[in-house]
């Protein structure tokens, strides 16, 4: 199990702004280690964010996303105190789900 994500969700006007910092190596499969051996690819492939059971963001990621990715997005239709749930699945099937309450 990977390290937890850091999630901040905040009301800005009638929109909810969500900031997420994920902890992931995001190996592209093209780097080599000091012995010259190729490091196998391992990167986040799917990201989903839900609020009150509704999907508010869904993304397919590839190897061009950096290590320890930072994600920021906004959506409408939520209020302070609601919970935002973010989850990812990487190319090796590893998963992580974290949540945060929306601050006023």
């Amino acid at each position: 199990m990977a390290d937890p994500m850091r999630i901040r969700a905040k009301m800005e006007g009638d929109k909810t702004v969500v900031r997420v910092l994920m902890s992931h190596e995001m190996e592209t499969g093209q780097r080599k280690d000091s012995a010259g051996k190729t490091i196998p690819a391992m990167f986040i492939q799917e990201v989903t964010a839900t609020c009150n059971g509704k999907t508010v963001l869904s993304a397919q990621w590839g190897t061009s996303i950096s290590k320890n990715p930072y994600l920021q997005f906004a959506f409408s239709g939520a209020k302070a105190g609601d919970k935002v749930v973010v989850s990812w699945v990487d190319s090796k099937g590893d998963k992580r789900t974290d949540e945060a309450a929306i601050a006023a």
Binding site: R6, R8, R19, L21, N68, Y70
Partner: protein, 359 residues
């Protein structure tokens, strides 16, 4: 008493009375200044001793042993509020920012917290973060207190500095979310820092006797004695910039190389066969008595050539004559042996004479 003296006396009296009045007014500060002089050396009357309050305001440093750390406390949660309102613009919500400053948090793993050394510092590809490098909590606390926020340094209260310090360490996975940092538990937090043992003092940056960070050794052994010319400009390229001799100054130890002959477009000065042979004849002192066309003391070279034309033994005969000297064929005056010429040189000269001294 002259008028002048009377005037001076009157003037002095006025002056004396004026000075007395003046002395009364300046005496107390002058006295105070003379007390200060004892503290500040020769700077008489300049400045004054700082008051204890001023020293307190200036003396804000916090040392690694936490000397100078004021009492106070702050929670991670409070630190997050301050961070997101005052710090996140530049440092990023999670201290991850790279667009303004280097990241504050990240790069620390759970093994580092046990080891006391941040392993990722040894990886050249890893971006360095503040929490990765931090070896003393006091440094972080002092820096936030002294210099942050950048646009309003010293604007945070003591408790707010504790809170922000706690939050930065929380972002760096050192402290849990519900932690309260205070002057009482700061030493305990110090013992949790990932790079707490990463600081070394065994080097020249700390002590003159320490190991320097460069290892330059003056050897002064086996030095090269001769200059070896490793490469030269090809002949064709030498005149590319005109005659270098004309372009260098004529004072000082260095002169420009003459490239004038090549500049003029003529072939390099390789002497023709005739000139070379004449030089050789001169070396053998032949030209004292012989010339090419004219009889002087001995016969002209052309005469010799004409006399021996068609004689197959001429070559060997003449070599013997030049080498050992001769007398009687052309007159009574003897020819001395050519001692300064080698056999090969004599052979060349004789061949040249018999061939009719070509140019």
């Amino acid at each position: 008493m002259s008028r002048l003296t009377e005037f001076l006396h009157g003037g002095l009296r006025v002056c004396a009375s004026g000075c007395t009045a003046l002395l009364f007014s300046v005496a107390p500060p002058a006295h105070a200044a003379s007390e200060n002089v004892a503290q500040v050396g020769d700077w008489k009357g300049i400045g004054r001793a700082a008051t204890p309050a001023e020293v307190r305001a200036w003396d804000i440093d916090v040392r690694p042993d936490f000397k100078g750390l004021p009492k106070g406390a702050g929670t991670v949660a409070r630190g997050q509020e301050i961070w997101e309102s005052k710090c996140a613009t530049c440092h990023g919500v999670f201290g991850e920012a790279t667009h303004v400053f280097t990241p504050i948090a990240g790069g620390v793993h759970s093994e580092d917290l046990k080891a006391g050394h941040t392993a990722s510092l040894l990886k050249p590809t890893e971006a360095r973060t503040t929490v990765m490098k931090l070896s003393h909590v006091s440094t972080l606390w002092d820096y936030i207190n002294r210099a942050m926020p950048w646009n309003a340094p010293r604007s945070l209260s003591i408790d707010e500095v504790y809170a922000v310090t706690a939050y930065v360490l929380n972002l760096g996975s050192v402290l849990p979310d519900d932690f309260t940092l205070s002057n009482e538990n700061v030493a305990e937090v110090q013992a949790r820092l990932p790079n707490r043992d990463g600081m070394t003092m065994d080097h020249g940056m700390w002590s003159v006797k320490g190991k320097p960070d460069v290892r330059n050794v003056a050897c002064m052994k086996g030095c090269a004695v001769d200059v070896k010319v490793a490469s030269v400009l090809p002949e064709a390229a030498r005149p590319a910039h005109g005659n270098l001799a004309d372009q260098n100054r004529t004072i000082g130890p260095v002169r420009g190389v003459v490239t004038a002959a090549q500049v003029a477009g003529t072939a390099p000065a390789v002497p023709s066969q005739g000139v070379a042979m004449l030089q050789l004849a001169n070396k053998g002192a032949c030209l004292s008595c012989h010339q090419i066309e004219t009889k002087v003391v001995g016969p002209a070279f052309r005469e010799v050539a004409a006399k021996y034309k068609g004689d197959p033994k001429a070559f060997a005969t003449l070599i013997a004559k030049v080498k050992n000297g001769g007398q009687g064929i052309w007159g009574a005056i003897p020819m001395p042996p050519a001692q300064s010429l080698s056999d090969e040189e004599i052979g060349k000269l004789v061949r040249w004479v018999l061939d009719g001294t070509p140019q």
